[in-house]
Symmetry: none
DNA sequence: CATGAATGAGGCTTCATTCAT
DNA sequence: GATGAATGAAGCCTCATTCAT
């Protein structure tokens, strides 16, 4: 039955995230990855034949999770709060997104399609937010004097507000309030 | 004496920004820079003896400008709006900040001190915002039920909201409103 | 598994010696080394990640050999002659030592420790010679009116006396005599 | 009458020696030299149009001094001692000679002729020593059972015996004795 | 003469990727 | 499948040297 696999995609993704979060994309090489996983560098090529393919696949994977969460939230009575809640759990996704400019998007067809999928997913996120906001507008909860794009941008941006670890609940609370009612009394 | 300079620091900084914004930090080499400026690669080393030194010097330069602007604004009657106004002009500074994880901060002593200065300036920005918010709280304009840090984070984060070029005025208007009064009616 | 090595440390050391002896340290680059060995430049980096690491490792290796030889000689009835004999075989070691001022000793920790080891080995050589001379003094063979350090220096210095190839035996004979009885009748 | 010279050959030579002795030939650049002298790098090219020309000129200059000293000594009743005496004063010349393998001897015609002159001077040194030794043989002072070349080599080699500063007199004494009568009682 | 500026040549390194076992 | 070894491409950096003022 051949040799048993020593690693799988999940481990690759975990190690990838760990390294990128720890060392930034600059510190993310197959060299480092191999060390992290305790396998030979060349072994990774049995799974992903190109660095960019791995990274983009990983990001697709991440984004899918987020989008999935968003789907389960949109039915909530307080959907904006639900979004903030998700952000608190996927804060690092933004760090991950920053690696995008460093990726050669033309590298291979697979990379291209991954990148396209990523953009698709990002679009989904945005449009889910838009939808939520529009619905809320219809319900008379959200203001109508501002473009939905700008508001969507704001909702996406708040993920950048630093969270102190073990203060997530408070972060959600405060950020939600700020989003809802703004800075002013 | 000696011959006339063909480039100066200003041009270096401009080219640096241009390249980083266009290609990301990954595409920023002295090779690219030299091509952009039409000089030999080694010429650049007469100005900055290390890639990191140039980039960090540039970022310090940028941040200084922003902080300087902030100083001239804080006396305004509507200081939060002033901040948003600055953000609209320095939107790219955030893109620039994203290169930080890619910089080898130990590269040289000069780099180290530049990086320290950068953090100092970022701190200044934050503390200026804090101060503004606290003062506004005292004047009874800004709410008091939320930690100043979180609010500062929000103010800094809005710079990430995408601007459509030639829509800056509107962006400022809308973002300011959102900041002030939130999403909700 | 993996493919068979095309070079090993021994070949690297041999090539290193050959090049340094032929071209001096100035002519010793990984480029030259790679050409000499018929491999790609980068291949060498799989063995030694820095020029200085290779050179210093090589010198440690050389010195160890010499010290080892010295140990097997000290029991001889005519130990000074034994030393001269060793010198005749390791004449080039002195040429090698001349590269030391050209080595960046701080390059890496490994380099540092290699350099330290080198000095340790040189110290060993010196102290072995000292010991021999002192013992010979006790046996009443070696004069006592001169500091042992100076005599040790003399013994080490004679390695510089040029040898004509295929005249080694004669060189040993004559140098030994000179060491023992001096120039004068 | 034109601008006054700010440096001259003497200063160049002094600075050259200082740097080479301090940092080794590796640390000897026109950059360092210019700093040492407080002039622009390019200024040096008004005096020597090539690094090698400067270095070789300097070495010729040094060797000439030594040879000159040797001439004034050879008339002494104890000529070997006289040589040792000179060595004590020019100990560093040997360090200087070690840079030779690093010099591109073909660099320019001037370099070539300098190098030739250097070899000539080294030959002079050797032949002066030979002559002295031969004369001493004739006077029945120096042994005849050993080739003059080997003995010359010994005399030249002793310059390598380390001198402790402010112990020069003693060094001369001891080395002379060793040369004359050897290590053995 | 002196100099500041520019440059080219050459060496150093690091990885992603490919190969052969 | 896994691996150790080899490699090429690409970027970094340092000087000697040349140029123009």
């Amino acid at each position: 039955m051949g040799r048993a696999k020593t690693i799988d995609e999940t481990q690759l993704f975990q190690a990838t995230e760990k390294i990128i979060l720890r060392d930034g994309y600059a510190g993310f090489h197959f060299k480092a990855l191999a060390e992290e996983l305790g396998v030979a560098r060349s072994t990774i090529y049995n799974y992903f034949s190109k660095k960019e393919e791995l990274v983009t696949a990983f990001m697709v994977h991440l984004l899918k999770q987020v989008v999935h969460h968003m789907d389960n939230v949109s039915e909530n009575e307080e959907p904006v709060r639900g979004l903030v809640d998700i952000w608190s759990k996927y804060a690092n996704i933004h760090q991950m997104m920053h690696v995008m400019p460093y990726i050669d998007r033309e590298a291979t067809p697979l990379v291209q399609s991954n990148v396209q999928e990523m953009f698709g997913l990002l679009g989904s996120m945005r449009s889910r937010i838009s939808t939520i906001l529009t619905k809320e507008q219809e319900r008379g909860r959200v203001r109508k004097d501002i473009q939905v794009e700008t508001m969507t941008g704001l909702v996406m941006a708040v993920v950048q507000i630093p969270i102190q670890s073990d203060q997530e609940a408070r972060w959600v609370e405060e950020v939600y309030k700020l989003l809802k009612d703004g800075l002013y009394d």
